[in-house]
Symmetry: D3
Subunit: 163 residues, 6 copies
């Protein structure tokens, strides 16, 4: 079986989804930005008057979800109907933050790519903020953890929560 984004002759194309149903669809993706414990403390600092680091990453992630079809060549444009992005200290690693994005649509294709794009753009935005104090940061473990809606039905990655 070949990859559906490529025709039988190997050429890239945007696959025709006209025949797919318009249904409610949702996807959740996660990723981790690994840095140092002191940097995580600065990102999360709630004691600053206007500690906007997490808000900036969240807004960038939401806007990034809307730009997905401009970035990923074979991705279909979709009317995104809701986006949540969260950035929280990763429970098991004092030097990491976990980014989670959930995207909803009513459309003909799923929104995994939109959720993944939200996570990566939020992660890049955090990276940008901290690169002056930690040039060894890593954006890692970016993956889809749950999706629902569409022909393939509900799916959760092993051991990860509901979409």
């Amino acid at each position: 079986q070949g990859l559906s984004h490529y025709r039988a002759d190997g050429a890239a194309h945007m696959v025709d989804v006209s025949a797919k149903d318009v249904t409610k669809r949702q996807a959740t993706a996660k990723g981790v930005l690994r840095t140092r414990a002191d940097v995580v403390a600065r990102i999360a600092a709630g004691d600053l008057p206007k500690g906007e680091a997490i808000a900036t990453a969240r807004i960038a992630g939401i806007m990034g979800a809307k730009r997905t079809p401009d970035l990923v060549p074979l991705c279909h444009p979709l009317p995104v109907s809701g986006v949540d992005v969260d950035v929280v200290p990763a429970g098991d690693d004092a030097g990491a933050v976990e980014i989670t994005a959930t995207v909803r649509t009513t459309g003909r294709t799923g929104v995994e790519m939109e959720a993944l794009t939200a996570v990566t753009v939020a992660g890049l935005t955090l990276y940008d903020m901290i690169k002056a104090v930690d040039n060894a940061a890593v954006l890692t473990d970016v993956r889809v953890v749950a999706k629902s809606g569409g022909r393939s039905g509900d799916w959760n990655r092993d051991g990860e929560g509901d979409a």
Copy 2:
């Protein structure tokens, strides 16, 4: 010491770089898309008449580098003067591909964010291609491995090659 993207009062701003020198700058970033060995084989398949998977990811990465200031809120727009993106099977893991991007500019700030954006957009493009055959893929280990130019001079991540 606070994060420079935030003022003393904690508000996000685009830091003024007017006083920085215009110099040649270069950055290299890497990342890994972890999937299955059979999927890597399909991505890399050179025997298809028009096996365009890697070309698509490469083009997406190059175009992504140019979109960096549209995506990362506090990033300065820069006249990118050259971009290379490579996607190769990861030597030590039959189920992974390694993505490398090198970006060059002559400007007032570095191009680490452009190189990281190129890697992540190329990685998301590959993810999009393979998600129908592997819903467990992970984009991981996205980091800067080398930079040169600017006031801070040349830098290589421990144990990684030259920019």
Copy 3:
């Protein structure tokens, strides 16, 4: 009652509109660019061979309406189905022009933001044209004057015309 663009914990999100009905919706916004009477005369000059100032503002406003979700972070992307932009001398002030934009869609959310964006982008375009001859211009009184469709039904701002 909190603002709906923010969750109970205060975090910004793009509110989920999946459950809202797809209906015909329309909104009209207005604004005023206040400059000098001689500048208004130049903008409106119909005696020039190709007096394109108003056409340029109109086109910019129409294109601006389509860019709304790229600019306003928590705004939902919408399939705009019609846009009119008018720029006319303000009846009661020889030194001002009034900008009016009406936007239509068939979607799950209203198009007030699209109408307001069309007015402001048209206004900025006029500002750009005249700033060399009037550095004291002001874009002012930008507001929604009428909307129709959706659950909240028809609404007209006190003393202003129908959408």
Copy 4:
């Protein structure tokens, strides 16, 4: 009869399509890049390890189709549901390549402009590649050859194939 993109008073507007039916629609456009036979040979060279010229043009064309409403001021945004772009040596001219794009949607307006934009952006991308070796290249004969769906029904340009 006036042009529908202009009101009775001559002002440009985005015509209201709210009353049009949502139907499946498809359009095919073609164009030709005329250069020299030796340049066509380089573009098409299948013997290079990674001969990505045609893939680059194809990807650019697909992405261009999605950008149509950003480029063409009075064009309605549309949820593109499929795009194919082909670049092949023109049968009757050893020094030319023919570009064909087919775009599909389910919407209220046709996708001729999306197909034409895909052809021109693919053509410009090829032009960019070869301009260093042929400054006399010409992008020519860009036209719609077939459309289907919508109120006007199916249409084929005289002597050209089906959409």
Copy 5:
């Protein structure tokens, strides 16, 4: 004297600035969003766990500054080198917030349009947030208050502060 954005024949063009000097330039613009005192209190609420309304407007304004040449047709693209956006309760009106944006560049043209765009996009973002609770809000008094650099030298609007 005609408007410089129009040629002698009245046609719009992007005026050639090749002969202008590359210098440091700065501009500050202001605007006011007029709503109700209770709404201003919600926007500014510092007691919410993550009161991100002002941060969202600030980020939107900064990103808007970078999009200026995409929105304003005859505006030259510029390498923005710094942006600050502030949103504060207007001292003289309990129902209004004042938005201030300062933009810096080293380039051939001024950045008044970038500062005005930052103010209007931040203002539209606030409008979007509050429109569900106040449909009578007005974005008003958007104007340049100071500029420096370039041939025309420093300028302050009468009675307003330094850039």
Copy 6:
């Protein structure tokens, strides 16, 4: 000799132009939209109160020039310093209009692609306007006619005017 946009291994890349001089550069491109004489008359109609067809195409072309690096994957971003677009009845064909665009920059690469993009986007905009009355229109003869600046010096296409 290979195409410079492709490396020795055939991979597409954005060629490094860091070593090229920053000089004043200019390019002029032309193209023709072929339709019917009665349609050309409508486009050019100067007797309509607000005959904005040509203004719309001109503005679209100018804005298109600025979007070139977003559309053409391997094109370098450039600070465009001036753009003129003209649309005039083609002297030798009552059913055609000729589109001419001249773009200027001070940068490291030429602006042929920007001039070609301006011509094609202006042409597509005209096509969009007239497609309801002429489905047989053709955008043709899009080519560079002159360039100046840069290492390769001045060049005029045989038999065509100065840049």
